[in-house]
């Protein structure tokens, strides 16, 4: 039995310890927002946060996350009534097309903004390099990340301090 701390809840699962986290999340915990794309950490559709860092759930054995904090797309929103600024920006920019990669894109972007609230284009490219979008919405994803970063900066700055920040 392995204990997961997922989206703030403790869950105990009975699975082979080398089962990738992805399949435990999807099939045993019935949280289907995290997607299967390649199975070899090449596409990023399965991206979740482990201890706040982006990780590819399709290659992380269950045994590696015993007791660690896992966040999936279902746990991204601030609370039930407050979406994450990235989710709002994703809608504002009409970012998804088929949408299948977008849970992973959002989680990768969330990890980026946690460690770098004001990313440059190059920072964004590096953080998002592991996430493929076959619908090719890279321009909209990048724009939405910038919008969300600006939004989060506005929310955390006092009016006096905000004058010193000119771009997001």
């Amino acid at each position: 039995m392995i204990t997961l701390n997922i989206n703030g809840d403790r869950k105990t699962v009975d699975a082979d310890p080398d089962t990738p986290l992805l399949w435990v999340i999807r099939e045993q915990l019935a949280m289907t927002g995290t997607k299967f794309g390649c199975g070899i950490a090449q596409c990023g559709a399965c991206t979740v946060l482990i201890g706040g860092t982006a990780a590819r759930a399709c290659v992380i054995p269950l045994s590696n996350v015993n007791g660690r904090e896992v966040t999936t797309i279902e746990g991204l929103a601030i609370d039930e009534n407050t979406p994450h600024p990235l989710q709002e920006a994703w809608i504002e920019h009409q970012t998804p097309q088929c949408g299948y990669c977008q849970s992973g894109q959002l989680m990768a972007a969330a990890a980026l903004l946690r460690r770098n609230p004001n990313p440059t284009d190059d920072d964004i490219n590096r953080a998002m390099e592991g996430n493929i979008c076959r619908c090719g919405m890279y321009g909209r994803i990048k724009a939405a990340i910038k919008t969300a970063a600006a939004q989060m900066a506005d929310e955390t700055l006092t009016p006096a301090a905000s004058e010193e920040v000119t771009d997001g």
Partner: protein, 753 residues
Amino acid sequence: MGKWTRRAFISAGVMAGGGILVGVAIRPGNLADQVEDEVAGEGETLVHAYVKIDQDNVVTAIVPHSEMGQGAQTALAQMLADELDADWSKVRVEEAPARAEYSHYSIGRGYLLGGAELPSVIVPTFEGVMMRLSDSLDLQVTGGSMSVRVTGTYGMRVAGAATRDMLKRAAAKSWDVPFDDIRTENSTLFHDASGRAEPYISFAEAASEMRPSYVPKLKETNDFGIMGKPVQRFDIPSKVDGTAQFALDVRVPNMVYATVQRSPIFGGQIKKLDDSAARVVKGVLDVIQVPKIGFDSFLGGFTADETVAVVADGYWAANRGLRALDVQWEGNGNETMSSASIRARQDMELAEAIDRKADIDTGDTESVFADAENVISADYRVPYLAHSCMEPLNATADVRDGKCEIWIGCQNPLGFRRAVADALGFKEKDVTLHNLFMGGGFGRKSRADWAVQAALISRAVGRPVQLIWSREEDMRQDYYRPGLPSSFRAALGQDGSLLAWENTYVGKMEPVEAPLIPYSAAAQNIGHVPSESYVPLGAWRSVDESQHGFFTECFIDECAAALGADPFAYRAALLKDKPRHLAVLERAAQEAGWNTPLGEGRGRGIALKESFGSIVAEVAEVSIVDGEVVIDRIVLAADAGFAVNPDGFAAQMESGVIYGLTAAIYGEITIEDGAVVQSNFHDYQAMRMSAAPPIETHIINSGHKPGGAGEPGTPPAAPALANAIFAATGKRIRELPLHHHIPFSTGFSGVSS
């Protein structure tokens, strides 16, 4: 399906919750009845859609197209709602069920006619033929960039206008006022003189008793209120919080999981199977052999070779079980096939040109070439391509007690239902298909091979099964964009005229016009040599337009170069008779600042292709940095006829460009020992964010009929890029993928692809 009476398809039904299904709809099903009178009106256009209005005055458009992110469902709802004068904030959309009543009569019409206007006198006959055809073909296809330009134009707008007309008639009768004194706005009927105002739902029941007009008055473009506005798509909110339901997300009680391997050698079969090691893998429940299957259809027919399936209590166990199988395949002679052998055979076919069929043959090409002083020729080639949708193929099937229920994301729900019914020996009515969001489609999800597999596996184990293909299986068991050569010869006039254009290529699918050029050339001979393909082929975003866009737009660039002419000005001079094409070309050039010189090591390329009813020109700008290509930007102009949702149209252009650039730079499926070599995204690469250029889209609403959006952005991408590389380097690349000929930057300094 049973016979439809006129009542059945025109009258209202009361919905759960007390709402009304307004009887617009309207697809006369069976011509045998009194229905025939309905069809026979001269010049009539039949409506093909349902409109629901509920007790809260919410209008629901039911659309017979699937959603794979192309935004068609939202655009179709816009078309219906605008003609209905609906309150857009209270409009919803639902996908039509996979039932014969929603077969694509209108798609068929568009498919066979290419959107051409019909002389009114033959309309009734034609409509009748089309209805029979679409019933028998089970067409419910999302593909061919058809949704807006066919279903929307012939179906949704007419349905909206007819509903509005009936509501007005009902109100006029109830209020005892002249029809023309009633106006509609925001799902409300008004009689201004008496101050009356009532929501649509108040008259929905009365309206539903009426006979709808097949030829209601449609709005002029100037009167559009919702069409032409960049509205937000209905499907997006669920795609940012993980709640969107794809087929992979279906959960059915008592469900188990399966994964498969089909004969890796096309045309092969199982020679020996030892499943003892697989059966002892923890969680594995069964190992099943799925026979070779096939489905014959006008659209989306397929064959699929013998397959072994492992059923388990989870995908991971199934996948481990599959890897533990000791299976040997025999290739029936195909094990010697390779990319090299296919290429050699195609080259021979091209050289011998046996049974060459002309697509177009005008003027005396041979004598023009004989007399011409300036003749150039070139040979081009493209490789096989996989679709590599983000969502690997999967389906959940429950086959028990002579019934089948299946959950899937596909581009042709009715066709899939038929294929599954055929394979099981069931009647179609005993198969219920639930279509979910598709994680990409691009043409792959129009072939029902994996749906049939899921059904056969479920029947074998007697319980619901979710079949999930590995990425490797998805890559190796595709229906591929053809790989083929195409050879050209052109006779050039020194004044910039194109005296003769000759082109021969191997293999042809659709659209038939794909290899044609818009440029004025008095003598043209374009033709193809038929070729049997060992590799399974299928529609890939823009189908034949994808390769012919590359071939023709690069070779016309060579014609300009041979004369020392500017590639834009050369094309423009040959488009004097094509004002729409010329306007698109000029707009792209102008927005890109074509005449502004770029510095050393930089270059611009331009390409123009009409496809699926839209005309698109793209300008690519590249820089060569440390010997590697960086794509600086793409500037795109499109004559969309009329873009119903401009932001959605732009998004489709952006998507089509990245899909086309990805294929141009990296895309290549190769064959060794009869099987596909590539297996996953490490060896079949997708463009990533760092290499993806900014894309500027400029839409021209020319006032023509709405054109397609899903595909037309793709064909010009590869030639625009290849032409830009030529402009920057002088290197003319005639074979894709480009990265074999010049390195591409990943977007990070010092790292190349």
